[in-house]
Symmetry: D2
Subunit: 333 residues, 4 copies
């Protein structure tokens, strides 16, 4: 399998991280990028808007809307918190749909990207498994569908190694035949930061771009390609060994820098070179040995199930008015 | 969920059973239907040809070619026998392709029909999981593919209740975009006979017709619909409670009939009415109570894995010359 | 594998069925057996007490207490009903403990009998997986355990074919070392009646006897053997093909008998022989052919998960006062 | 859950790593520790003997025998190589038994430690699932067992969080009742080195000591505790984030040290402090943030299945003369 070349830079799938890197430690505002932050109950919601080409170029992200939920405590596996996050996610997703002009009746195709045989890459298929599917009722008994629902279908197209077919090909074939008004694509991501793994959810209206997520997507899922709007929901579930090292060296720098101020003495050049240079150093060492492994926390089985339930419950409540946000859990396994 | 009305007659998905029913106990030959039987090592292979409209009408099956493997001993779960059956299946399937004019280079899309969450309906998805997939190499590195392989892709399209989309829609979308030369569709079937469950494999070049198999397919997968030849591979994995009763009454009739000849005394009217009438009687009793359950043997988990391995191994060897029929098992889990 | 000889009579694991068979169609009361029936919301609860040797002999069951929940509508997979049944089960189980003199502080070992690789036999292991386990806290941090809980441990000992060890040996070893005050053993059963499969739960304080349940237990789990009280919870999940036939012939008899009265004409001798004789006739036909399969409904995967959730939720609420019976579901997956 | 305190030093479960650390970069021989290395086909076998107290103290390992297989290429998932490693493992294990005086007829209890719900901790249960179990035949039909087999039973005792019972309690209960001559305990380990994850297998006759492996074992499985010899088979499947960082800093040191010689300039103090000090520094930074995650490679599902097959196949061939080492794979799924 060829390497995921795109990942071999301080690349991130999260707009929030891209913005932070562009801002630098001073957190200087970026023209063309607006931001709104809200936090309560340990759930931090950041709504980013990349309004124009200048903003887009500054942070290396497409023009569009991005919402990020950060919930560090999700790592502790608290069922009550998961329920709370599902409710916030549902509300944010519903607002997001309104903001980008998707109506209550728009039919939806949920696409669960990823490989069900690889636990950290199985988020998409798991969400599909728990989504509330209704399209068949609209097709077979249209006059018997209760109000408060909309037409939702879902597919987990698999990955190239399992099917021999690009997932985007499978999706496009289905879009051509079933004509949904909106695609929602779920994907597991690689994180630039150890602490974001399994604790962060991103919603974006820019679709899935080639090379994003885990695995190597050669073709994307975007409005340009599919002809319908495409919202991407992503959760970081893995990171590179080199990312961990780089990340920890940064923490060490901050840690020792705050104290005595002789970071340079402790860390040598590793202290004052840029993050990009430092990561290159780390890779220079790891790659020839084939040791730049992609890793995931030991507890990934439980994490991925928890996050998939949050996303599925949240989507069910956001897409169907008849599904009560306080009781979203009841519709998933 | 609406009932599978088509199953509510002495219906069968096996051409061999349809032929036997049409022939009656005297086994009179049927004009327009030719038959070739071969048996060795406990594996009985029947090659049926329905040559013309007369034959088709007589047995209620489409004009076409049908091959059936019957292996009663498969019920015992002997690994050595499974390997042997995989080899015979591979050889028969390869001959079948030649007979119906499919060349060595024809590209193939394997379609695994059925619901992976329902064990007796998971045959198709399991075969897909174990099939040797190569299309991606032909697309990405065409000049590096070794000789002895052909282009194979595979998809398990799920069922209407899981995806909201007819499996035939999903398949047609993929066929439109990837243009395979041949479809091979795998499906679990309902059996008319208790002893055929998990011991019989049918190959047919007539595709999948609406209402066949487990679940209620509203649209088929046929050459007419898809525009490419479609071979169906089916294995009976379930039967109706009423089928069992009817089946056993038939066995009782034979059993007591052979002995003293007073079957009538023992079984009353159940002895001399037609099979169709008797089944109606049984249904008349069971259906109003909601007790005409579809059942499967207790050991279905192990059976379905064994049969899926046979079919996947056999297909891998039949489709790729480079895969050795004696060692087909190595390519599956 | 040797046959389950015990099952080859009109045997049943349900005391309720044994009583009904002993009573005959007239439902004559049986001395030494008292009965209390309550029904609401489609849930029928029968509390049987076998008070003395006469009662025991009459129905062929050990002296003891038996509670049966019958919920025909469970077959429809309604989540709301499952929740309701879990609550009733919790209440009945709590009363049962009181009735047989088990205190609030009695420590419990839950034993999940059966084979996790055979879906209809996996009830016990599934309940264990979802039980609220607390013993480790009492052992490690006894002063930090909140009130409202008791000491609960759990084990799925596997089956002889998987481990080479009788499950009763494994349990006895654990009992010797951990000294629980009570054993609760969960087991899947064979049913005499098609309609009881997956719709009936039995609680009994007589333990598990050799040859009961699915699989062939050579040693039991009883107070005599283990030295502590042993409650058995059982759910029928399979039945024999011969049982189905016998069952349906009985239904036919009732059906035609009610109408014109010429059942004899229709069914011959099958009409007026005893159930036991009829079953022998059926077996005489099926067994030599090896066709007396043990079968389970096609939807067993979903059924078994639903019933396991009911039993686990119910047990969690009944065993721990701190677990709210209205919210029992939250503690299981 | 309390932290695994024992892991918070440059601790390793591998005797080979302990020896290398004790030797230092000069690889000076250690009195009381003898070593034999053999390498072919990319499989490196190291046989260590810790002969006396001096040797034991020098490397911090119990007196005993240790065999390590290192196969870096296992990371590539080559089926042919897996087969080869299973054969070498079988041969080494058989020799190991002979060396420590275990006879051909010694009965064996295989113990699969770990949590089947946590993929990187599921090695033990997976090996148990694939082991060839024979004890039941010796118990039930002793005169019908073919020559070339021995009495083998197996159990996966679960973990404290799942059962409420220490796995050692479960095992001791079973040992008390079934009296095996030998215990073979399989466990997943934490590695000190990124490159050993999923590529190394250790055999040792010192049993399982408290605090070894993944999870926090409070009691061990040793001859002292159980009264029978106990062989441990371990495979590293996870490591700490801090281990990765420390490991990479070591690689950087070597990398830059070889070149220009100005490592100090690049890495500051990180260059010349001891490994132990460096790891402390890293932990000082990571722990307060709760970021010293235990991680595993993204491909863990496939790795663990591959390694479990190797160990199970190898054990089956080593324990039963009738199982052919060239065909060991056929006995596992």
């Amino acid at each position: 399998m060829e390497p995921d070349l795109q990942l071999y830079s301080v690349r991130t799938d999260l707009a929030l991280e891209a913005k932070e890197m562009a801002q630098g430690p001073q957190r200087t505002p970026i023209p063309g990028v607006n931001e709104e932050v809200e936090e309560s109950d340990g759930i931090k919601v950041t709504r980013l808007g990349v309004a124009n080409a200048a903003g887009s170029q500054a942070i290396g992200r497409a023009i569009g809307n991005y919402v990020t939920l950060e919930v560090p405590a999700l790592r502790n596996g608290d069922t009550g918190l998961q329920q709370k996050v599902a409710e916030v996610f549902a509300r944010e997703f519903e607002d997001f749909l309104t903001r980008i002009g998707i109506g209550k009746d728009a039919s939806v195709l949920i696409v669960g990207l990823g490989n069900w045989n690889v636990t950290p890459d199985s988020l998409g298929p798991l969400v599909v498994e728990n989504a509330l599917i209704t399209r068949q009722f609209y097709e077979l008994v249209p006059d018997q569908v209760s109000p408060g629902y909309r037409k939702v279908s879902a597919i987990a197209p698999g990955v190239l190694g399992l099917t021999g077919i690009e997932s985007s090909e499978v999706v496009q074939g289905i879009v051509d035949r079933t004509k949904p008004d909106l695609i929602i694509a779920i994907d597991a991501l690689a994180s630039r930061s150890l602490e974001r793994i399994n604790t962060t959810i991103q919603i974006a209206d820019i679709g899935i771009h080639p090379g994003s997520g885990i695995g190597n997507k050669r073709r994307g899922l975007t409005q340009e390609i599919l002809g319908v709007p495409c919202i991407a929901i992503g959760v970081p579930t893995v990171c590179y060994a080199s990312t961990i090292v780089n990340n920890v060296l940064e923490m060490m720098k901050n840690h020792f820098g705050q104290g005595a101020g002789h970071t340079k003495e402790i860390m040598g050049m590793l202290d004052d070179i840029s993050e990009q240079e430092r990561l290159s150093l780390v890779k220079e060492v790891l790659e020839p040995l084939g040791h730049d492994l992609i890793v995931t926390p030991k507890e990934i089985d439980e994490f991925i199930e928890g996050i998939a339930n949050i996303v599925a419950s949240g989507l069910n409540a956001a897409l169907h008015d008849a599904v009560d946000p306080e009781n979203v859990g009841a519709y998933t396994h």
